[in-house]
């Protein structure tokens, strides 16, 4: 078991904010930030505050879009996605805590397009793990990590530290 403390994580998020500023330039001010439920929303909240974005933060719950519904079933506490701002023709900053296989992001993009057609989607992730199964990579990354397949990384709440543990023996862990 390994822990990355919350001060370090907050520092990485500040670095991500800086990367987003240089990546998007003037387009940042009008962009729409969307966090993926649940860890992505936590990271997005900090980024949103750090960048002082005007458009309210959106939340995506991608349970209805996952491609592993038949293996892991329906998540019992699925909540609705909340996108207070239209994404049509907007620059969308999609935020998740950990990117690994890329399947969550694929599902999230499928759902985003059901709300409208964004002009551009920027993907920001606190952690990008090695081991992608789809051709999906983050544009803005807090840290890259090369973990063993048997390891599992999770953002702790509410303190925002990261915990690396042996993967629990359940399907659906990413």
């Amino acid at each position: 078991m390994k822990t990355i403390d919350s001060d370090t994580v907050h520092g990485w998020i500040k670095e991500m904010a800086q990367q987003l500023r240089s990546h998007l330039g003037d387009a940042l001010a009008n962009s729409v930030m969307v966090g993926i439920h649940t860890g992505g929303v936590k990271v997005a909240k900090e980024l949103h505050q750090e960048l002082q974005l005007d458009n309210p933060l959106g939340e995506l719950n991608i349970s209805f879009y996952r491609d592993d519904f038949s293996r892991i079933g329906l998540h019992p506490t699925v909540g609705a996605s909340q996108l207070p701002n239209a994404v049509e023709d907007q620059v969308v900053i999609l935020v998740d805590d950990v990117i690994y296989s890329g399947r969550t992001i694929r599902a999230a993009m499928n759902e985003l397009f059901d709300f409208g057609r964004p002009r551009k989607i920027i993907l920001a992730a606190l952690i990008e793990r090695k081991g992608h199964e789809l051709p999906i990579r983050a544009d803005v990354i807090g840290r890259n990590m090369d973990l063993q397949a048997c390891e599992y990384i999770k953002l702790q709440q509410p303190d925002m530290s990261l915990l690396v543990t042996a993967k629990p023996d359940t399907e659906g862990a990413r």
């Binding site: 719950n61 349970s63 209805f64 879009y65 519904f69 038949s70 293996r71 892991i72 079933g73 329906l74 019992p76 506490t77 699925v78 909540g79 609705a80 996605s81 909340q82 499928n110 759902e111 397009f113 059901d114 709300f115 409208g116």
Partner: protein
Amino acid sequence: MINKPANIQLDEHGRLKHFLSIEGLSREIINQILDTAAGFAGVNDKAIKKVPLLRGKTVANLFFETSTRTRTTFELAAKRLSADVLNINMNTSSTSKGETLLDTLRNLEAMQCDMFVVRHQDSGAAHFIAENVAPHVNIINAGDGRHSHPTQAMLDMFTIRHFKGDFEKLRIAIVGDISHSRVARSQVHALSTLGAREIRLVSPKTLLPAEMASFGVEVFHDFDAALDGVDVIIMLRLQKERMRGALLPSADEYYARYGLTTERLALAADDAIVMHPGPTNRGVEIEGIVADGHRSVILQQVTFGIAVRMAVMSIAISATEQSSARSSHS
């Protein structure tokens, strides 16, 4: 056909496989349906009102008894889950029970249908089909005789929870032809499982079955008295044939004693909501101005019905998918 034990609804892991009646379901499963429906309600507000959850699945609506609204909302629910939908109007005169019905089922199974939504005039029909269907097929009861109409009851619970919150604080009146109403029966089961503070059944003596008193409900024959402090008023549809069957003196007298008028509505709690499973008989059980008024949530019930049916369909198919995934892995 007789009522079979309700546990046929659950698979070996206690997951909801068939949705046949509220009876026999735990509060946990009822809340799972309500919580999942809350997620699906958001889908219906999107530009593209669809999620890919049941893509590649086929849902057959088997309606032995006509019902445009219920069939339409089931069809929309399945389509918004990306399932393919077959609407089969089972002509009662040409489909006698027993072998012919089973033949029809075998044929639909051979076409690889994954779910049957069944509406039938006989109590227990959906149970009978669930007992005789191939293991990979899920059955949803869309109303059977006088027995049960569980998805209607669930959309009513969803509506009540949406507008009124915690069931343990609520006084609810169900008014009208209780004895012929599968909706009322399912509502009573759902409300008592959810721990409603008070369930009041309001009906003429001729339209209230004696056994209902045993469900922990209060029985009223005086509508005005029953309305005192009530938070939710559920009106039931009065079927015209009840008049002919000499169970009631006349429509006018029924309306005078059991019709929900503006004056009567004033006797309930100030923020009471008015519900009705539809279609309404204006001037028979409800005044038009009440049905259309700001306290009425009748059209919201219809809207919520889609999300609730999406929830029931996806929960049932999810149980079967998980079972088959597990057996193919082992």
